[in-house]
């Protein structure tokens, strides 16, 4: 019995290790290429680590390319989108979770419907709409478009988090003397922090890696976000893999930091102890 459970534990760990290796290998390869000097890139064949590692690509990317601009733009666009979407989705998710109102069914259907169209179909009309408003080639335009695309899904996400919080809690707060909004702010919102963190993270990464609209709506390096910027490492005759990967590694940093920041809320089950059991 004991040997069997030990065996199962080992098998379990091995399976997890295999999964992690599989999931993280592309990231490892990104890092490997980023630190491989150009002269070794094609000459060493396939090796897990180059015989000589250097940070020259990072140095170039940071000092001689427009990457810092892309990086700043991406940070602005993704951060703003994440904040805007999370605020809107919290309010609408709460409404969908707690209120009964006319047209709710149709509203939800409509929101689902928006998720069914391939984005490519919408590029031309959106360009047509934004162009006369002066919102093409502008970070604001990107924030608006990203927000519009992310609000429906984020709303459903937030709604499910609100659904998970017992209604008794805000009823108790209202009997204790709170208005519905005060109950929302002081009781429900603090308990939804994991949900808010998840939504922030989800929207941030979605906006961070979005390429299609950024490519179509932005021209020139000044307003380009980082995924578009990466393409500038592809020239007519060659692809500068080392620099591209170095930029890629740098682009991972804010996403990692962001998740580090919110992971406390992601893992914490704050509602434990609220009600029975």
């Amino acid at each position: 019995m004991r040997a069997k459970s030990a065996f199962l534990t080992v098998a379990h760990r091995l399976a997890i290790l295999a999964y992690i290796a599989f999931a993280l290998f592309p990231l490892f390869w990104l890092l490997k290429v980023a630190v491989t000097p150009n002269d070794l890139l094609y000459s060493e064949g396939i090796r897990l680590w180059p015989s000589r590692a250097s940070l020259e690509h990072f140095d170039f990317v940071l000092r001689h390319s427009a990457f810092p601009v892309f990086f700043r733009n991406s940070l602005i666009v993704s951060g703003s989108t994440a904040v805007v979407v999370t605020i809107l989705a919290s309010l609408s998710g709460y409404a969908l979770s707690r209120f009964r109102f006319r047209g709710k069914y149709w509203l939800v259907t409509l929101m689902l419907l928006t998720q069914m169209f391939p984005l490519v179909m919408l590029v031309a009309p959106i360009f047509k709409i934004l162009s006369p408003l002066g919102l093409t080639n502008s970070l604001t335009g990107l924030v608006i478009v990203y927000s519009a695309f992310n609000v429906p899904f984020a709303t459903f996400l937030m709604q499910s988090f609100f659904d998970g919080i017992p209604k008794d809690l805000e009823e108790a707060a209202m009997i204790d003397g709170a208005t519905q909004f005060v109950a929302f702010r002081q009781i429900i919102l603090p308990l939804t922090l994991p949900g808010i963190a998840a939504t922030l993270g989800f929207v941030f990464t979605a906006a961070w890696s979005e390429l299609l609209f950024s490519l179509m709506l932005i021209s020139g390096n000044e307003q380009a976000t980082f995924p578009v910027g990466l393409l500038s490492f592809v020239s007519k005759f060659s692809v500068d893999f080392g620099q591209m990967m170095a930029a890629g590694v740098l682009a991972l940093i804010p996403a990692c930091l962001f998740f580090l920041l919110i992971q406390r809320y992601l893992v914490q089950g704050l509602t434990a102890g609220a009600v029975k059991g």
Binding site: E171, I175, D176, G177, T179, A274, V275, K276
Partner: protein
């Protein structure tokens, strides 16, 4: 403290009525228990008093003031939820003081009141803990503490004990009763447990299918149930019922559907040959006797409970139960004599109402 008047209250969800014309006057300081099976509308009624459900028709007055349109926060009532509904991100002390903080009560006063309530409920050592670090009974106490710091006009309890184990429930039941004695607060208590209703209430309101069946003191409902529903709901094991026909005459007789004649000591307030239901509580059946009023019942099953013995008996095709404290019945089998004393009989007419 305040009286609560409920006048012709109705509640419907869309076309579905869930409460029909409930009329109830609750006196200042009274402990009223709403009791009934799940879905009878008792919780809905309580939530309407709290302001958590809208009132379809009728009027609710707290301390003489109409509250139909008043938000829960303006009704000055406290409620203890079945789920306790403690705020998980606040310590016990902050849970208890939340209502006072919302009302901008001075800090010193909050500290005094919370300390007082904590002492009363034995929560002193737990004040800095979060709800998740408490046991079920402790959470229940915090929920009570949260209600009493306010000194509200009335306390509402929504099945507050049903998540506790049997032993703890008994203990908390006594504590609630003691607390009510101390505070003298108007209380409305919802439960489906008739023992809780019997032990706690000044007055019981028995409800079924959205209709009030009977309002009265616990012993009223036990001794003189107004109809078949109340008769069957109050008491454990439940009252025995025999459907049949009443035959008046010198020797009045109740003939069950299974053609067993139950001789009656005296005449019943029923017309000759009237269809009726005869009811008798298991603990009132006399398991002895001889003579014309004694019947022979077959013993089907003997259930010892420690406190007493429940005998499953049958007369012809009709099964019934008898309760006795006499341990000599532990080993009975075959048939035993039974007698239904006239003063313990309940008669219900064709509509199920007491006659």
């Amino acid at each position: 403290m305040a009286s609560i008047d409920i006048a012709n209250i109705q509640k419907s969800y869309g076309p579905h009525p869930v409460l029909h014309d409930v009329d109830l006057k609750i006196r200042d300081g009274e402990f009223v228990v709403l009791v009934g099976p799940s879905g009878c509308g008792k919780s809905t009624l309580l939530r309407m008093i709290a302001g958590l459900e809208s009132v379809t028709a009728g009027e609710i007055r707290i301390a003489g003031r109409r509250v139909n349109e008043l938000a829960p926060k303006d009704r000055d009532i406290a409620m203890v939820f079945q789920s306790y509904a403690l705020y998980p991100h606040m310590s016990v002390a902050r849970n208890m003081s939340y209502s006072l903080r919302l009302r901008k009560t001075p800090k010193e006063r909050i500290a005094t009141v919370v300390a007082g309530a904590a002492a009363k409920l034995g929560l002193d050592p737990l004040l800095e803990r979060r709800p998740r670090a408490l046991s079920g009974g402790q959470r229940q106490r915090v929920a009570m503490g949260r209600a009493i710091v306010r000194q509200p006009k009335a306390f509402l309890f929504d099945e507050p004990l049903s998540n506790l184990d049997a032993r703890l429930r008994e203990q908390m039941r006594a504590e609630i009763k003691k607390l009510h004695k101390d505070l003298g607060a108007t209380s409305i208590y919802v439960t489906h447990d008739q023992i809780e209703a019997m032990t706690l209430a000044d007055r019981i309101v028995a409800m079924n299918a959205g209709v009030v069946q009977q309002v009265g003191s616990p012993l009223d409902l036990y001794d003189r149930p107004a109809n078949l529903f109340v008769a069957g709901f109050i008491g454990s094991p439940g009252m025995n019922f025999f459907e049949g026909t009443y035959h008046a005459g010198d020797r009045p007789l109740f003939e069950t559907a299974g053609n067993i004649g139950i001789p009656l000591d005296s005449s019943a307030p029923l017309a000759n040959n009237a269809r009726a239901t005869l009811g008798i509580r298991p603990e009132h059946i006399v398991l002895a006797g001889h003579g014309p009023e004694t019947l022979l019942a077959t013993v089907d099953l003997v259930e010892p409970t420690g406190f007493g013995i429940i005998l499953h008996l049958s007369l012809g095709r009709s099964g019934f139960k008898a309760f006795t404290n006499d341990r000599s019945f532990l080993t009975v089998s075959g048939t035993i004599p039974v007698h239904f004393p006239a003063h313990s009989l309940h008669f219900f007419d064709g509509e199920g109402n007491r006659v």
